[in-house]
Amino acid sequence: MSTTAAGADTAAGTSTRSPRPEQVTKTARREPVTFLEAISEALFEEMERDDRVFILGEDVGVYGGAFKVTKGFRDWFGEMRVIDTPISESGFTGAAAGAAHMGFRPVVEMQFMDFISPAYDVITNYLANSLYRGSGPMPVVIRGPVGAGNRGGPFHSQNIEMAFFHTPGLKIVYPSTAYDAKGLLKAAIRDDNPVLFEEHKGLYRAPALRELLPVEDYVVPLGKLRVVREGTDVTVVTYGGMVHKCAEAAERLAENGVSLEVLDLRTLLPLDDEAIAGSVRRTGKLLIVHEDTRTGGIAGEIAMRVNELAFEWLDAPILRVTALDATIPYAGPLEDYFLPGTDDVVAAARYLSSY
């Protein structure tokens, strides 16, 4: 088992094998990778490291996935480890559970995470509670693209965390950087609990996110948030695509002497509530920012936890910036209005800082 990033050569395979897919060799070649390539590398390296890991989903094989995350994997690993499924999200997620029972560690790709919903039943009523029901651990990762901003309309733009956040037994991960995406996905694959892994499609190929990653194998532990920027006036808790907008807002506000502490949750479930509370104890103010719709968003749980852990330190109401309570609309002006933006974060943080 190799424990470093895959090299550009084909040494690990047989000599007649097709070459390693180009997008998983950049780190070894000391080139910066995109968010998407970081995910490809994580998958590829975990599959090389552990032959119990395999991939299944719609068009992941021949095509390499709708976003080409697994491009070339089928040629390298063979069609039994990169399985093109019928259009049956429930069927192949259930099958992943069955393979996990038999000792495999499947990674399920949802073509768009919006289409996880037909698998809602099997995820919540079978995978998530397997351990509790006495059916054993469930090392299954379900990953796929989420997020709005691409004119994808109602069914190619959803964030799915809150459909599952209320399900004990699941973990939910939502990275915002290439480094984290790779390290968190590796941690997710090695985890014995079912993990939903959300990949914001707006980050996939964002040039600003290209990053040189360590050659060594590394994981980013689940359940620990990341301090994006330290600050003293307002704690801003966020994740995914909004991390970059919040960082931008912090930058802008710094020029006006308002200091934001920006926290990137990385893992939504379990929630790193102690770290959030720790920050709130320093700043006394909390803003939660999510791209997901408002009512029933994760802000609520964070507010409850902070009430439980750090109420006495609050100098202002806990507030939130979110998308509208609506289906994600298609047309540009509607989608832009629907989504929370940097200006909203700035306005909210300003309000709190002068509260």
Partner: protein, 350 residues
Amino acid sequence: MAAAGALVADLGRSDLHALYRTMVMVRTSEERLEILQKQGHLHGGLYRSLGQEAGPVGAAYALRPSADGKGDVLAMTVRATGACFVFGFTPLELFRQYLGRATGLTRGKEANLHCVDYARGFIGPNSPLGTMVQVMAGVTLAFRMRGEDRVGISFYGDGATSTGAWHEGITFASGQRCPLIVMVEANQWAFSTRTERFTRVKSFADKGIGYGISGESVDGNDPVAVYEVVARAAGRARAGEGTQLIELRTFRRLGHAQHDAMEYMDKAELAEWEAKDPIVRFRQRLLDEGWSDAGELDAIDREVYDRVAADAEQAMAEPLPAPAAALDGVYTDHVQRAPWTRRTPVDPRG
């Protein structure tokens, strides 16, 4: 819709021209959409039905659309634009949808064929495949409950038959003997996945046996053959014989959507199906059988081209929705306020 003076089946000259014209309208409209996309006016995906125009057109022509909300009802997909045109949908409406215009049927909230007009009897789908078989089961159950002489038709691709939604829909419909015609556009692909990679069924008509209902298979590139099969199925459905399943044998000649480079496609096979192009073939037949002449058909081509170009131009000139229109339409009885950070002064309350 069948006219007297039948030339083939019960179709007369004007019927045959209408079939031809509608197929041409589909292709011309989609070609126009491609141009608009290349010009950067489209933002969402673009899905074409190149080579599959005959099935939806022939099928819909066998039904009884109406503009008063009392005719047959169609559930289409992005590849069944032709059926929708038969039901009165126009290229103008199509462009508005793709361009997200405020004037569109969905006022920019949804895209493409995901649009509805109950008066004309078409119901666009949502994206999760299979759903509309369930919905159409209910639509046609309503016909049965009211004792109406109407039928419904639902289109999906072969890939969609794998979904639980499709199965539960056709199970419900067939069990309740709903007057529903379930069409399977067997274009041999689900995105990049070849039919034989996801099912061992050789003909999707066989799926009818598994539900105890009639299943038929027809050359999906022949509008007249499709017309005949669907007309008979509709007759059976109207006669109380319940749900009908029909496979259209065809081929998807372009990528799944415009962004799909189609590297997985066998070029020889593609050429084979290009030779079976439904429009070229039908045009030739119209000429060979003497049902039309080149002048007439050229005139149709031109008329359609001009109409489509004009419709595209009109749609382009129409406005996008106002941003704050995103706020309404969530509930029938309540409109949410603008986000607190966008009010003056900002105010986190309610």
